[in-house]
């Protein structure tokens, strides 16, 4: 295939250690012009770290990097024609789109930047990618999807050789994702080599030519995707074969615990649903469907109009403290932003939401007796692995943080439990444990709502799945009728149609 051609990038035994702990070890691969390499692996496998070494943000501890056959001691990103779309957006919110696009290579002199040229270049780039965004708008005024497009436009503007995309699709809607893929194909056509980091296997198989699989920082496999079936690749990443994980679910009671009627806000419209005690209701949908907004509105964090009933008693308008009193709990999807008190101890994190469940206070608001024992018991229950409950929660791994967060809420003996992406960033072992917890909880008669972008997870643990699309409930499936293909197409299909309508 590449006979005679020279690899644009070749990496030999690349390793990185942070204060003695090896995070990436012996990564070796070659990349030819126009090739797309998928970098796959579980959370924390070392994908982003590898990317950071390749674009010059981190210096490798060991190993060599060759660009077009020449060893580069120090990567300067842009100068070597390498650029990256980072996992976290790296745009400047208060600058305009045009300024963001051109900031790494400004036309004109240092004392006289040519803004005309800047705007022309930006317009040209966006036109080339076939997107319509106001180049004079501040980036902060754009939606998340558009920001991602700008990010990609920025990266591909300077990447004449190599473009690295670190989970670029996580905040994209389906049409936006299609847009991204067509951009990638176009760049491929032009001979740009790409490294594509993604957790979605269908994206990987759709886009990439070859792969490098990492597990715990070590390269465990590389090759052409056409030679490796999907199951095999997954097993390679995880280190074992992935079996069936569906649970045998008990039968929920008839009693409706929570019902909402025609709930509306600016991100969803006239949503109605009901969940019974002991039932696990899954809400499926694509990124940006409005699921988080919906459940946050139910929990009273955001304003919404419409009716909410708990045990047939109206409780809207909702507020967090009211919902807490009614036995509703909500575990956020954004652990870092809305969940963890990262500087505080495991103890304080555990008891943050319901002190009265952990502490015996003779006078309300005074004293913390019994907290320590209660939290220790909970940590054991939840299987949290921590050096001590006084350790800062920052020191815990993502999965353990998630367990602390879950424990914080489950300890309050809720009647209704809303879990938003409960296994986001959690490794497979912990994931299974959390699933077990959810099922066990429902068995005790708790009504559970699980919002997840991981369809398999919903299929595994739900009694019922509702599908949400751009702010509307568009479908409902009972467990016996679960059909992954139908659910996905329902969640996504008409968005396709819409985008086609909009495009035409």
């Amino acid at each position: 295939m590449h006979k005679g051609a020279r690899p644009v990038l070749s990496v030999n035994q690349l390793s990185k250690a942070f204060s003695g702990k090896t995070v990436v070890k012996d990564v070796t691969f070659e990349l030819y012009p126009g090739e797309i390499l998928a970098l796959v692996g579980e959370n924390g496998a070392g994908k982003s770290t590898t990317k950071n070494m390749l674009c010059g943000l981190l210096t490798p501890t060991l190993g060599q990097i060759f660009v077009e056959g020449e060893e580069v001691p120090e990567i300067q990103g842009v100068e070597q024609g390498i650029s990256a779309v980072h996992q976290e957006l790296s745009l400047f919110p208060s600058l305009t789109v045009a300024e963001n696009l051109c900031i790494n290579d400004l036309p004109g002199s240092a004392l006289n930047v040519d803004w005309h040229e800047t705007q022309r270049l930006a317009t040209e780039q966006l036109a080339f990618l076939g997107v319509e965004i106001d180049i004079l708008a501040n980036v902060e005024s754009l939606g998340a999807g558009k920001q991602q497009i700008v990010e990609i436009a920025k990266a591909s503007m300077h990447a004449n050789k190599i473009l690295i995309l670190d989970e670029p699709t996580t905040s994209l809607t389906v049409p936006e994702r299609e847009k991204l893929f067509s951009i990638m194909r176009m760049l491929k056509e032009r001979g740009v080599a790409m490294i594509f980091i993604s957790h979605f296997m269908d994206e990987v198989y759709a886009m990439a030519d070859k792969f490098v699989a990492l597990r715990d920082g070590t390269q465990v496999g590389t090759g052409y995707l056409k030679d490796v079936p999907r199951r095999e690749l997954e097993a390679l990443m995880v280190g074992r074969a992935i079996g069936e994980s569906a649970f045998d679910l008990h039968k929920p009671s008839e009693k409706i615990a929570l019902s909402i009627n025609n709930l509306s806000s600016h991100r969803f419209d006239k949503v109605s649903l009901a969940v019974a005690s002991g039932e696990i209701l899954g809400i499926a949908g694509l990124m940006g469907a409005g699921r988080t907004e919906l459940v946050e509105s139910i929990f009273g964090i955001r304003a919404a109009s419409g009716d909410i009933y708990i045990d047939n008693e109206q409780v809207s308008p909702a507020s967090v403290s009211k919902m807490k009193k009614k036995g509703v709990v909500y575990v956020t999807e954004d652990r870092r932003k809305n969940g963890m008190f990262s500087g505080r101890s495991v103890k304080e994190n555990s008891s943050a939401a319901g002190l009265s469940y952990f502490v015996k206070q003779l006078v309300k608001g005074l004293g913390f007796s019994g907290e320590r024992e209660a939290v220790a018991r909970l940590s054991q229950d939840m299987n949290v692995s921590t050096p001590s409950i006084d350790a800062s929660v920052r020191q815990l791994s993502g999965g353990n943080q998630q367990k602390v967060l879950l424990g914080r809420w489950l300890a309050t003996k809720p009647k209704i439990c809303i879990l938003d992406e409960p296994t986001k960033g959690v490794d497979i072992g912990a994931k299974f444990e959390i699933h077990k917890k959810i099922v066990a909880f429902a068995k005790q008669g708790v009504a559970v709502i699980v919002v997840s972008s991981d369809l398999q997870e919903l299929l595994d643990v739900s009694h019922r799945i509702m599908v949400m699309r751009t702010g509307h409930m568009v479908g409902e499936f009972e467990r016996e009728n679960f059909d992954a293909v139908k659910i996905i197409s329902l969640a996504a299909s008409s968005v396709h149609e819409q985008s086609q309508q909009v495009a035409s």
Partner: protein
């Protein structure tokens, strides 16, 4: 006591090495430093700063700042002084000063906690208002007519400790307990650590944020009265120059400016450092301008060090 408990102690009180160094240094350089008289003098001079620094610590713990605290001391002192001059009653004077402090604190608290305004600018505005009120009410000169009771209170000692410092110690103890033993204190720490997460936990974040500014105003009111007891009369600019010492004390103690990390006991140590430094340098006859240089260097180095030690 092993290595690890020393490390732990340093982590909780990162300014300890500096204090130790200063004590050793000054004791060896000046025969007057380590005397009861000098201790009394240090305690007398720093009660006002200590009380205000406790308020500032609470605000820092939520990730805010209260630039008005110094001028609110002046304003409440003048209000208390004026009322005492009229009524000759310490009770009414104190009530008026506390009420004034409360109102200034409420102004800050509502603007920051409820309207979400930037604390730096808000409290800067309040500082100007307070300063204007202090000087307008007093016409720029000290308000005389302090009742004898208060004068005696400011002059006398109990077991070698000035009464006004006992007020300071009392406040330190109360506020420390409030931080460690009440739900409110826990909520302040959680809020400072991550305000969004606090909201998601159902903590009334607006109330918590408002409460620290109100308390800071209230403590400034107490500090204002203490300054009258200490100086004998209410001086309209009495607190204005203290802002540096207050903030300096808090950060030297190792309370983070971004909230969620720090404690009142740390601040006590931080204030002690600056107090020891001033006293020691005075005894050594170092001119005040050179003292300023030392103070500035120490604040910078101390804060950097404290951040390092408390994080590792």
């Amino acid at each position: 006591m092993g290595m690890s408990s020393i490390v732990k102690l340093l982590k909780s009180y990162p300014s300890l090495p500096i204090i130790a160094a200063l004590l050793v240094l000054f004791s060896s350089l000046s025969p007057y430093f380590f005397t009861a008289g000098n201790a009394e003098s240090i305690l007398l001079a720093n009660s006002v700063v200590l009380i205000a620094a406790v308020g500032m610590t609470l605000v820092f713990l939520t990730g805010g700042i209260d630039l008005s605290i110094a001028t609110v001391i002046s304003a409440t002192a003048v209000v208390g002084g004026v009322v005492m001059a009229q009524t000759d009653s310490v009770f009414w004077g104190t009530s008026a000063a506390l009420l004034a402090g409360l109102l200034f604190g409420l102004l800050n608290g509502i603007c920051v906690g409820f309207f979400g305004l930037n604390p730096f600018i808000t409290t800067m505005g309040t500082a100007l208002v307070a300063r204007g009120i202090a000087f307008t009410l007093s016409e720029g000169i000290a308000v005389k007519g302090t009742p004898e009771v208060l004068l005696d209170f400011g002059f006398e000692l109990l077991w070698g400790i000035p009464y006004i410092m006992i007020v300071g110690i009392f406040i330190v103890v109360i506020c420390s307990l409030a931080m460690s033993k009440t739900t409110w204190g826990r909520q302040v720490m959680l809020f400072g650590s991550n305000r969004e997460a606090a909201r998601y936990c159902g903590i009334n974040t607006r109330l918590i944020e408002t409460s620290v500014y109100v308390l800071s105003g209230l403590l400034a009111g107490i500090a204002g009265m203490v300054s009258i007891a200490n100086l004998g009369n209410a001086l309209p600019g009495v607190g204005d120059t203290l802002l540096l010492l207050i903030i300096g004390g808090v950060v030297l103690g190792g309370t983070h400016m971004n909230g969620g990390e720090g404690s009142i006991m740390r601040t006590v140590l931080g204030v002690t450092i600056l107090a020891t430094l001033t006293s020691g340098l005075n005894l050594l006859g170092i001119p005040f301008y050179d003292q300023l240089i030392v103070q500035g260097v120490l604040i910078f180095v101390g804060y950097t060090l404290a951040m390092k030690l408390s994080r590792t």
